[in-house]
């Protein structure tokens, strides 16, 4: 009940802007501190007995991979908000999240292939996990293309919402691809039944990095949402002004016809 009230309150873009203006500096600060701690811990973490120093790529790779799926889930909830509850900020949230999610997915793919080169002996392997994440990346790009193809934001929002919900089928496929198929990508080691298989020396930096990256996403997402709201306001102001200018010039053209002889004289 409390949550729905808060969500309804936030439906007012002005209130949302005021709230985020207060929260954002704190969020950004906490994110920066956590990222600094996480990066320091990652740098100080011992080398793995098999992987050597390359294990440290994991501290970047795993949070990015988690977030690539998490962002699509956020967009799916926002899509429901657009289609079912018609929440006015839902499509802003969905639109702002797409490029950020694409960036996280891209980073997950790049860091993964950089790690794969020394470990697997190849930058890319067409196994189930890698392929499904690549499909996720393509779907992010398709979604961004859809947002950019249509001028009217509310029309684009509903189309993008349908596509987001259809694409959400891919998320469980990515999550369970390592269990369903016999893949080169190792199965889950942190979030699994029976506890983590990771040593504490690696688990702590990883968790700190995961929280830091999640907060980074929240910060970037809120900032992008603010930008999107402001961009829409600028757009509507520009359109208002354009229509006023057209109107004025039409009216002005009429009066200039009348005043032209006077000016000439």
């Amino acid at each position: 009940m409390k949550l729905t009230e808060t969500l309804t309150d936030l439906a007012n873009p002005t209130r949302f802007l005021a709230l985020t203006a207060r929260i954002l500096p704190w969020l950004a600060g906490v994110t920066a501190i956590l990222l600094a701690i996480g990066l320091y811990q990652s740098a100080m973490a011992p080398d793995d007995y098999q992987q050597g120093a390359t294990v440290k790529i994991m501290f970047i790779h795993v949070p990015n991979a988690w977030l690539s799926m998490f962002v699509w889930s956020v967009m799916s909830v926002a899509a429901l908000g657009t289609l079912v509850w018609r929440h006015p900020l839902a499509d802003v949230a969905a639109k702002a999240a797409a490029p950020i999610g694409a960036a996280f997915t891209f980073l997950a793919l790049v860091t993964g292939s950089l790690w794969g080169r020394p470990m697997w002996g190849t930058y890319w392997e067409w196994d189930a996990r890698l392929t499904s994440v690549l499909i996720l990346f393509l779907m992010y790009l398709g979604l961004i293309a859809l947002w950019r193809a249509v001028e009217d934001p509310s029309r684009a929002a509903r189309a993008a919402a349908v596509l987001t919900l259809v694409g959400a089928i891919n998320i469980p496929i990515i999550k369970f691809s390592v269990d369903w198929w016999n893949t080169l990508h190792q199965p889950a080691s942190v979030m699994r039944m029976g506890g983590s298989t990771l040593d504490k020396a690696f688990l702590w930096p990883l968790l700190v990095m995961a929280i830091a990256f999640s907060l980074l996403f929240v910060t970037l997402h809120l900032a992008a949402m603010r930008n999107e709201i402001l961009r829409r306001r600028v757009r509507s102001l520009q359109m208002m002004q354009a229509s006023r200018v057209t109107f004025a010039s039409e009216a002005g053209a009429g009066s200039r016809d009348g005043s032209a002889p006077k000016g000439a004289a």
């Binding site: 392929t131 249509v150 684009a156 189309a159 349908v162």
Partner: protein, 222 residues
């Protein structure tokens, strides 16, 4: 029920008529398949190895190209609005339209497969395997593609945007279609495993496609 039957009959008739353009998909399929030997060289052993992949890719692209017609023509002449407003559930109407589209544009591709298999030096079993996987898999292409077609028609955009939206969704179908054909031709996997996943994909898209397409039509057309 009779309304749905009438819709299916009407769509098939329009698609096969002059200006319907359903059979142009087959022509495209033929052209793509003929182009391949020029690209990879006329090595018959290589062609028979690549054959299933070439046929699947050709069928995928051909069914993608004809998808544009699924809603556009009806949107232009206004009958799509009537379908949306009619008493028949829009989901069922979408499913009927997709079924008609598959009969008019998808089945000819499968019928053409044996002929194209000859050009690619596929033997009897291989051709049969590719035709069977296409029969099981092309409904999935049509029904997931329908989502993209519905989005494209509500946005008044077609062509490349449709392809960009639909192609990632069709990757699983392509993977298991080609895997099943390869399994039938050279093993070592049993044919049944990928083939049943392919059937499952078709059945799932049979359910998801009409709902998503109907949702985007309902929200998009105003």
């Amino acid at each position: 029920m009779s309304a749905l039957g009438a819709l299916i009959r009407r769509d098939i008739r329009i698609a096969l008529r002059v200006g319907g353009g359903a059979l142009i998909g087959v022509l495209f399929f033929l052209t793509v398949t003929v182009l391949m030997p020029f690209a990879v060289g006329p090595d018959l052993a290589l062609l028979s190895r690549l054959g299933p992949a070439i046929l699947w890719l050709g069928a995928l692209l051909a069914s993608l190209l004809t998808l544009d017609r699924l809603f556009t023509a009806d949107h232009e002449d206004g009958s799509l609005d009537l379908i949306v407003m009619s008493r028949t559930p829009l989901e069922l109407a979408c499913a009927a339209k997709a079924l008609a589209h598959w009969i008019a544009a998808g089945l000819p591709l499968i019928i053409a497969t044996p002929v194209l298999g000859l050009l690619l030096n596929l033997d009897g079993t291989a051709t049969l395997a590719v035709a069977a996987t296409l029969l099981a898999g092309t409904p999935a292409l049509t029904f997931t593609g329908m989502i993209g077609a519905a989005l494209a028609v509500t946005l008044h955009r077609g062509g490349l945007l449709l392809a960009v939206l639909v192609l990632p969704l069709s990757i699983p179908v392509l993977i298991f279609g080609v895997a099943a054909s390869q399994a039938a031709i050279s093993g070592p996997l049993p044919f049944g495993t990928p083939f049943s996943i392919l059937c499952a994909l078709s059945l799932a898209s049979l359910v998801i496609g009409p709902f998503a397409a109907a949702a985007s039509l309902r929200h998009g057309l105003d």
